[in-house]
């Protein structure tokens, strides 16, 4: 009985905070928009009994999902989000791996300090940090002032309100999520493995590819997921740093909900986004499980 309660706690948690809200969102996505409060139809009507339930289900349809395919704005936004998330995940990996590597190779007494420096930005509000990037990247911002001052460029660069600014913002914001799992994997790496590889005829570089990289694979995959998943639904960074051309699904979602007040279409957008994210996660987990079984 006690075991059952223990197991039940996380399931109740998931049910209450994930599954039920999700079912509600799915339900809204199958409804029609209405000038009412809440702004959709049908509503569940208890007073009509069984007939009411039948009526309720009869009103639900996939119209909104169908609508998403008719306007190319949506699939363009999905694709653009995927592209931006993929590229920025890759860039975060390229920046994060060397940092994690350097941290793991640093003298032991330095590591807590370095770790602190990686986590430190979290102590300031995310929003303020993104705003401060506006100050750095704008046409008469810090970066341009610096580059003009030392004479590298003659005219200020236009970075703010472009995709570049979005990439910079995403890489900056999510870098710690990439660094920490990779660092955790690299720190566990036994230095004598690299010596053994060298002893058996590897150069430093091939020892890195044949030993360090495969042994930090789990950390790299975890880091990539931790960056990719929030990046694809990112809303604040593209709306503050991106330009009018920067199309991301998070922005579309926001517009549908708050400007257009079309909850059913917005919910449909959200459901599709969730499906897009769930598929790679499930694939990844199955792969993990298979590997674990093979190693069992």
């Amino acid at each position: 009985m006690r075991r059952l309660i223990l197991i039940a706690i996380p399931y109740v948690w998931l049910l209450a905070l994930f599954l039920i809200p999700f079912v509600i969102v799915v339900k809204i996505s199958l409804s029609d928009t209405a000038l009412a409060r809440p702004p959709y139809f049908p509503q569940w009507d208890w007073s009509l009994g069984w007939a009411g339930i039948k009526d309720f289900f009869a009103e639900l349809d996939f119209e909104n999902f169908w609508f998403l395919t008719t306007d190319d704005l949506y699939w363009k936004a999905y694709l653009s989000s995927l592209r931006i998330a993929l590229i920025s995940t890759l860039m975060t990996l390229l920046v994060g791996f060397p940092i994690a590597y350097g941290m793991a190779r640093a003298p032991e007494h330095w590591r807590p300090t370095l770790m602190m420096l990686v986590i430190l930005p979290f102590w300031t509000s995310f929003l303020i940090r993104v705003y401060s990037w506006m100050g750095i990247l704008s046409q008469n911002g810090l970066l341009n002032a610096l580059l003009l001052g030392i004479g590298v460029i003659d005219e200020p660069l236009i970075i703010l309100n472009t995709d570049t600014a979005v990439y910079i913002g995403i890489v900056y914001t999510y870098l710690p999520f990439m660094i920490l799992p990779i660092y955790a994997a690299l720190e566990k790496l036994d230095g004598s493995l690299l010596e053994a590889a060298e002893d058996l005829g590897c150069s430093r570089l091939s020892a890195f590819w044949l030993v360090t990289v495969p042994l930090s694979k789990q950390g790299v995959i975890a880091g990539c997921f931790l960056v990719f998943i929030p990046a694809i639904g990112e809303f604040v960074i593209p709306s503050l740093l991106g330009g009018s051309e920067t199309l991301m699904i998070g922005k579309v979602l926001y517009e549908e909900f708050f400007s257009n007040r079309d909850w059913p279409v917005a919910s449909a957008v959200a459901v599709i986004l969730l499906l897009i994210l769930i598929i790679p996660i499930v694939l990844f987990q199955r792969n993990q499980q298979k590997q674990a079984e093979a190693e069992g």
Binding site: D190, S192, E195, A196, E198, D199, L200, G201, S203, L215
Partner: protein
């Protein structure tokens, strides 16, 4: 036909495989290796023995190429190896932690070094199979290192380091992680493999029994210096210093002043006690401070005063019972404690001596080694 004894170190014609010439290694202001000269010959099983921190691992890491000497040269087959990178040396190392690649199977671990040489696939496969057979691992080829036992992991590490047929194999505390029984078995396996492959082995260990069992020669190290290099029996029977005598096995050390007549030394070791007699080929000065080292198993113990040279009376204060042997700690009136060892040839209930018995300990003139340092 007399069997040829393997002793290249006694043959002045023989060229050493490895030669350390005045090698020193410093880490900051700590001297790990202090101007060492050392020759190791081909096909030897050479043991570096010493307490932790004595520099034995540093010495080995210099051979592997992970450390470079601060001064002096190391020659491998006549060539200075200082400029040769570790991945270019015909030297392989078996690591103390085994350093098996956790993401590769046993088979791939063994093949790792061979693949780096870009050998054809079938050659690699043949060599790996050969190594698997040599180390009796054929059944476990497909397993990952975490799926096999400690003893099997040890054999994988050995197979991997032998696969490239190195001129020299370095073994860093290879049996440290195994339990005693397995360790003893593995020692014989190691010797067997060393003989079969004809590879020169250099083993680092802090376990003197292990060094004595496997090695053709043993170098005893302390604080970056070589204290003595000799065959195991010479190290045991004829140590050159109190340090070596004490480090290898159990020993009674008695300090005193020497009076030498020819080969015979009389040692004044305590007020009012008869001098102790021992034979030596050393020449000691008059009243020079020196030490007698007597192994406990060479000390006999009896109830009545025995005839012969060195006999001392005392009281048994302690008995260490080891099953096959018992070590009696006999306290002399002077306060010295002499350890005497006897084989337990009788049942324990019939043991002739017990605690607080007055007994005589004695040893012959040749049993003790005279040491001057």
């Amino acid at each position: 036909m007399p069997q040829k004894i393997f002793a290249p170190w006694d043959d002045p014609q023989e060229k050493p495989l490895i030669r350390f010439q005045n090698v020193t290694k410093r880490f900051g202001d700590f001297t790990a290796i202090d101007s060492i000269d050392l020759d190791i010959y081909a096909r030897e099983f050479f043991a570096l023995l010493g307490p932790s921190g004595c520099g034995k691992t540093t010495l080995m890491r210099m051979l592997a190429g992970f450390e470079t000497p601060s001064s002096g040269t190391i020659l491998l087959a006549g060539q200075d190896i200082a400029p040769v990178a570790p991945n270019q040396r015909a030297v392989n190392m078996m690591f103390q932690s085994y350093a098996l690649f956790p993401h590769l199977s046993v088979w791939d671990n063994i093949a790792f070094g061979l693949r780096r040489e870009k050998r054809p696939k079938d050659q690699v496969a043949a060599r790996v199979e050969e190594m698997l057979k040599l180390t009796r691992l054929t059944k476990f080829a497909r397993r990952k290192p975490h799926q096999i036992s400690g003893g099997q992991r040890q054999r994988v590490a050995l197979a991997r380091s032998l696969a490239k047929a190195p001129k020299l194999l370095l073994l860093d505390e290879p049996l440290g992680a195994l339990d005693k029984k397995l360790r003893e078995e593995t020692q014989f396996e190691l010797m067997d493999i060393q003989e079969k492959t004809g590879t020169t082995f250099v083993i680092v260990t802090h376990d003197q029994e292990e060094a004595m069992t496997v090695a053709s020669r043993v170098a005893v190290m302390d604080e970056g210096k070589l204290m003595q290099i000799a065959t195991p029996d010479r190290i045991y029977e004829a140590p050159n210093s109190v340090y070596v005598a004490d480090f290898i096995g159990d020993v009674n050390i008695i300090e005193g002043k020497a009076h030498q007549v020819g080969e015979l030394v009389q040692l004044d070791w305590a007020e009012g006690q008869p001098a102790l007699a021992a034979r030596t080929d050393k020449n000691l000065g008059l009243a020079q401070t020196c030490y007698l080292a007597i192994r406990p198993e060479k000390v006999s113990i009896s109830a009545d005063r025995p005839g012969g040279a060195n006999a001392l009376q005392g009281e048994i204060i302690d008995i260490a019972y080891l099953g096959n042997l018992s070590t009696y700690h006999v306290k002399l009136p002077t306060g010295h404690v002499i350890k005497a060892q006897q084989a337990n040839t009788r049942r324990i209930s019939r043991r002739p001596f017990t605690w607080e018995d007055k007994v005589w300990v004695s040893w012959t003139e040749t049993a003790a080694v005279v040491l001057d340092q």
